[in-house]
């Protein structure tokens, strides 16, 4: 029984097939609208979400399946003190797969341990967000027509930014990829990610100057400094506005740059960037439905790959 907990759970070959399926689904979604008829997806969102939750639900509905679940952990029995493992054991009897978003790091892994159906990690604390990565990769592939030989710049909160952690680990597997990390010192990439890159000899540089790095990037992955990851409000306020992308700063960037953002944004991308042809973050959000459709089809049907 396959699940998606960590972004490296799928091999590059499997992932390439999955992305190809996502592209076929994007080209002709109606061809798949009965693929998961009669199947049920449990959507357990213990932490707030708009895009991920709605795109998962949309994906399941577009495949002909149904959805049960909650979008606020305080409305579940967790509020009564039920453990996550008990919740998962129970929901395994109600659904054919479980999509879980949780504020605690490793929560999806705990869910997988106790589930008898496939589990999909829809974000666990500051650790991983593997389905966002599938979305990001689909976007990069659409815009750049390749996932190898790219200079990927990641800007903002690289410490708690789970989307960055998953993307870096994943796309770092493709040959010729290098990273430029731009963040305040307090929010630099965590030790486990540096170790990962060092062990695989994947080149990266760290800096705190966005403008100088922009001209070197093929892909710019902007992230939000997340208030919910800070225990100290003053620390959040001090760091949240350090890197703001606007059209003036983009004058230093290449004409072929692709600007991605997992969204939601607060103010780290000025609205005047939205009309720039290099900004692809709203298309990126749309691709999330097809990436998740492909994933659900693969985990629940398994016959549509290749």
């Amino acid at each position: 029984m396959k699940s998606l907990i960590n972004t490296l759970d799928f091999s590059v070959k499997e992932q390439d097939e999955l992305l190809a399926l996502a592209n076929r689904m994007a080209a002709s979604p109606k061809d798949y609208n009965e693929l998961l008829k009669g199947r049920i997806m449990a959507s357990l969102f213990f932490e707030p979400s708009t895009r991920t939750r709605l795109s998962f639900e949309s994906a399941m509905l577009r495949l002909g399946g149904r959805v049960i679940g909650f979008s606020d952990g305080s409305l579940s029995s967790t509020a009564k003190g039920e453990s996550l493992s008990d919740t998962i054991r129970m929901v395994s009897h109600y659904a054919d797969c479980i999509v879980i978003r949780h504020s605690k790091e490793g929560a999806a892994q705990v869910a997988q341990t106790h589930a008898s159906v496939p589990v999909i990690n829809a974000g666990d604390g500051g650790r991983e967000h593997p389905t966002q990565t599938l979305t990001d990769l689909m976007t990069i592939l659409k815009v750049k027509n390749r996932l190898d030989n790219l200079t990927v710049g990641c800007v903002g909160d690289l410490k708690f930014g789970r989307t960055v952690h998953s993307l870096v680990k994943n796309i770092g597997r493709y040959p010729g990829v290098r990273f430029l990390f731009v963040s305040p010192g307090e929010l630099r990439i965590p030790a486990f990610l540096r170790t990962y890159l060092d062990e695989l000899r994947i080149p990266y540089e760290e800096s705190s100057h966005m403008e100088a790095a922009l001209g070197l990037m093929d892909v710019l992955y902007m992230t939000r400094v997340q208030r919910e990851r800070f225990f100290n409000e003053e620390e959040y306020i001090r760091l949240k506005d350090m890197f703001i992308l606007n059209s003036q700063k983009l004058e230093n960037a290449g004409k072929e740059l692709a600007i991605l953002h997992p969204l939601p944004r607060v103010n780290e991308i000025a609205y005047d960037v939205d009309d720039d042809p290099r900004a692809v973050y709203f298309d990126q959000a749309g691709y999330g439905v097809f990436a998740r459709m492909a994933l659900l089809a693969w985990l629940l049907d398994g016959k549509e790959l290749g």
């Binding site: 504020s103 790091e105 490793g106 929560a107 604390g125």
Partner: protein, 146 residues
């Protein structure tokens, strides 16, 4: 010297010697010897020429104990397998590749902070620096902190 005589007196079993004084009781617990159904002796603060004071654990008649955790708790300890009153093997100490409920994750964002029934599992990341990684949140812990 009383400790040394005790080591020599074993007919068959395992002797964990040269345990840092005070660590014996910790080791005793991690090896689950408090639940053992066989004879176990623990000596605390035995005189030692090399260490001044040391702890010793003698386990009677058992030779197949899983003692890998000792390498993490006290890497200077020595393990001798005794048979017929003689040392027949000295077991080298290595760091265990995985430990459960030996190291504890202190990351407040880790799922183990709220799921109290979950075991704390750590995997060896860097043997040279004795670095372990939480199996859930990937937080690093130095084995020396134990």
């Amino acid at each position: 010297m009383a400790g040394q005589r005790l080591v020599n007196s074993i007919e068959k079993g395992i002797v964990i010697d040269h345990i840092q004084a005070g660590m014996g009781i910790k080791l005793f617990r991690y090896l689950n010897l408090d639940k053992a159904g066989f004879t176990v002796v623990m000596i605390m603060n035995a005189a030692s020429k090399r260490m001044g004071r040391k702890d010793i654990i003698k386990i009677q008649d058992i030779t197949d104990l899983d003692y890998t955790v000792i390498g993490l708790i006290d890497h200077r300890a020595t393990i001798s397998v005794i048979d017929g009153g003689k040392i027949i093997a000295k077991k080298p100490l290595t760091l265990p590749s995985t430990v459960q409920n030996v190291l504890y994750c202190k990351n407040p964002r880790c799922v183990t902070a709220t799921e109290k029934q979950m075991p704390h599992i750590f995997r060896l990341q860097n043997a040279g620096e004795r670095i372990y990684k939480c199996a859930y949140c990937e937080e690093y812990v130095n084995g020396f902190e134990l």
